[in-house]
């Protein structure tokens, strides 16, 4: 009998398992399932980027790099961020190359949180935020966002959720799983609040290139925010490079220095091969990125229309590649809906509650897949809905 669980730390043992894993276990064994549960691009990394990685191997560029990442990549990041988001960061000491945004956020939280500190973040949100905070012996403070606001963070709700001890505010626009975005006016109010309460803002902008309506605005570009914001970004979504595990953090030097300590002792450096591929993506990847964005937008329009036709009320996500339909009209809760749908029609959607309490009543459907699969999934969902007795 394995009783090694007694060695696991209390704060780790008490973390819930990701709700997504259970679904993955079932779907992966199921034949002819149609999955709308995939949280990554449907595209293979554009070939010119893969070729840059191959060239790195060919040239024998297989060493460690500077803990911060290669200077060449940091210079490209500095240029790309200034050009597309506004703020200018010094490649020498204000940019850290990380193993995806996940590591960037983890390093940021570990570098800044003392035990008992509180972290504000909007919910529904990416699955790692609350656990990452808890792993720092800190306290997550969720702020609910709603479908009425298209899941943009309401500054008034943020103010209401604030409590003494809050130190960090995590933002993620466009949002996984809701596709929520924040316009300049909302961000200005949030920024004002962050300054008033002296919050450090961690802005996860991994989906920013995949903004379909209006222009993406980074909170780091607003007056007074650069010095209290860490801009977290990466290559996974915009350039379909999930498996490269490569991202970066830009922020004021002292915070980046703190993150560097966590990163250098924990990770050493991001893979040099991925770093070389990332340079190519920033230099020449724009056309393929725009092409993929257009495809996502077309598929979004289709799936959202279909959900609404089927009677699953669904707002139009303004960014990312997830639809987040309201399934309460079925009389089922998120988990039951997703489980029964999977069982009855072999369609995988992720229950909204996997993304926090605020996701109750919703399910996430990724439209990063082919028209054929989306079409088939919607036909099956239609049959499933017809089979429900409690359907109004």
């Amino acid at each position: 009998m394995d009783d090694s669980g007694r060695f696991v730390a209390h704060h780790v043992a008490s973390l819930p398992k990701s709700g997504i894993r259970d679904f993955f276990a079932i779907v992966s064994k199921m034949k002819d399932a149609v999955s709308l549960g995939i949280g990554e691009p449907d595209f293979v990394t554009p070939f010119h980027i893969r070729e840059a990685a191959m060239a790195a191997l060919e040239k024998g560029r297989t060493s460690y790099t500077d803990n911060r990442g290669t200077l060449q990549l940091r210079e490209e990041i500095s240029r790309y961020v200034a050009q597309n988001y506004g703020p200018e960061y010094n490649p020498e000491d204000e940019i850290l190359v990380t193993v995806g945004v996940s590591e960037g956020l983890d390093a940021l939280l570990r570098a800044t949180l003392n035990p008992g500190d509180k972290v504000l973040y909007h919910e529904p949100c990416y699955v790692s935020y609350a656990p990452s905070v808890k792993l720092c012996h800190a306290i997550p403070v969720p702020v609910r966002t709603t479908s009425q606001d298209q899941f943009a963070l309401d500054p008034a709700a943020l103010r209401a959720a604030w409590q003494p001890g809050c130190k960090v505010l995590v933002l993620n626009f466009p949002t996984n799983p809701t596709g929520g975005t924040a316009d300049r006016k909302k961000l200005e109010e949030i920024a004002k609040f962050a300054i008033e309460k002296d919050l450090l803002v961690a802005s996860d902008e991994i989906y920013s290139e995949l903004t379909f309506e209006g222009n993406h605005v980074s909170i780091a570009s607003l007056p007074g925010m650069r010095e209290r914001t860490v801009f977290l970004h990466g290559f996974s979504k915009a350039f379909a490079m999930t498996g490269f595990r490569i991202g970066y953090a830009c922020g004021p030097a002292a915070v980046i220095d703190g993150m560097l300590k966590v990163h250098q002792y924990g990770i050493m450096c991001a893979s040099i091969i991925s770093q070389e591929a990332a340079v190519e993506a920033l230099r020449n990847g724009r056309d393929s990125m725009l092409h993929m964005r257009d495809k996502y937008r077309e598929r979004r329009d289709f799936i959202v229309r279909r959900f609404n036709e089927l009677g699953l009320k669904c707002h139009l996500p303004r960014g990312a590649f997830y639809a987040f339909p309201d399934i309460t009209s079925t009389g089922l809760d998120s988990l039951t809906f997703a489980s029964k749908l999977l069982e009855a029609q072999k369609v995988a959607m992720v229950p909204g509650t996997a993304f926090g309490e605020a996701g109750a009543g919703f399910c996430r459907a990724s439209f990063s897949t082919s028209y054929e699969r989306i079409h088939e999934a919607c036909e099956r969902i239609s049959r499933f809905l017809d089979s429900l007795p409690q359907r109004k």
Partner: protein, 160 residues
Amino acid sequence: MNPVLKLLLEGEPLDTAQIGKILNMGQAAVESQLAELRQQGILLGWRAVLNPSFEAERRVRAVIEIKIRTEGTGGFDVIAERISQFEQVESCYLMSGGYDLLVVVTADNLYKVAGFVHERLARIEGVQGTSTHFFLRAYKKDGFVITDEASRRDRPSVSP
């Protein structure tokens, strides 16, 4: 671009009912647009794209470069149109460069290709010379990469 045409060119196997749903226009409207595209001579027809290694067990394929003499023969168009009539000919193009026509042919075996070249092509008035190359192996066809079909099999079917 016409959205129906754009969708067809993406290469997903969709029928007109599915296309209608995707484009929110109804099956009848899709069909009438397709009819119009055919009438305009834009859409020539449909062919399934088969894996060439499956085809290769049954058919051989070759490209033939053809040099043409135009004097007294009616010019390129007349000869090219005549060559295009043969059912063995899959496609036929007028080219710039070292030869004039590029013809792709398929046949049951090598000897039938050879027969086509010396019994048919070589006898056409104006054909000065031919150079035949057989296809050995395909790596990409009509936009489908053939070698890396298994490359994405590790992708989890549900991920955060």
